[in-house]
């Protein structure tokens, strides 16, 4: 069986790439996608531990994370559409007004 270190390393790599994406990208949709990537990295960890500890709780929790990610993506994109319709831009650093 694979030592678990490999899975931890993989999810770490994905997490880091996601973090870079969130920090460096100006386009809000790409930022949202990077957040999805981070959530995915977390899922890998959960499933890896649930497989190695033989307890299925990890997979159940991964399911909840997928549900939460779906909710978050839906609302996030809703905000982006509403924002885009008023301000015609999707760049993160132009979202500097609390009320327009």
């Amino acid at each position: 069986m694979m030592p678990i270190g490999h899975y931890l390393f993989l999810s770490l790599a994905l997490f880091l790439i996601g973090a870079i994406g969130v920090i460096t990208r100006r386009n809000v949709i790409i930022v949202l996608m990077s957040i999805e990537l981070i959530l995915n990295a977390v899922n890998i960890n959960l499933v890896a531990f649930s497989r190695y500890f033989g307890d299925v709780a990890g997979q159940v929790f991964a399911l909840f994370i997928i549900a939460a990610a779906a909710a978050e993506a839906a609302v996030g994109l809703g905000i982006i559409i509403a924002f885009f319709r008023n301000r015609e831009t999707v760049l993160a650093d132009e979202m500097d007004l609390l009320k327009w």
Binding site: L10, R25, A71
Partner: protein, 175 residues
Amino acid sequence: MLDSVIFYFFASIAVVSAALMVTRRNAIHSAVFLITTLLATAGIFLQLRAEFLFSSQIILYVGGIMVLFIFVIMLVRLDVPLPQIRSRLQKWIALFVALAVGVEAGVVLLLARKVPGQGLLIPNPAPANQLHPNTEELARSLFGSYLLPFEIASVLLLVAMVGAVVMAKNRTGAP
């Protein structure tokens, strides 16, 4: 032997397409690469004998959320490449920080290899054929001990649905 081949195959695809996703100019291209990453992680779930999660990941993530992303990118006409990276300096700082964290964690994992059980006090994992059927096991715990979070998750989804619809609704009044 077969397990490690599958794992390295999916892991490499996941990491490479994740990297590509973050660096692409065109939003649709990065969406497509995110889809490849999600499919690769689904493959890893399969390798970890989590079949139900494999199919729910594909149905929910790839079939649902990513289609939503592509819809928004198409509607928002975002595919025109915009100046993507903020300031050059910030990019380098982020890369440096990520590299540092990566090296540090890598060292920890490599050192932990010698300690029995990977230093995480893991009993030896159960071989594949003695595993209980994944779906029944998942269902038993989901509707058994985790019933309350299940209901809360459904309420969360409902709230998100209503929120998204209200937000994105084209207020006919608006000019």
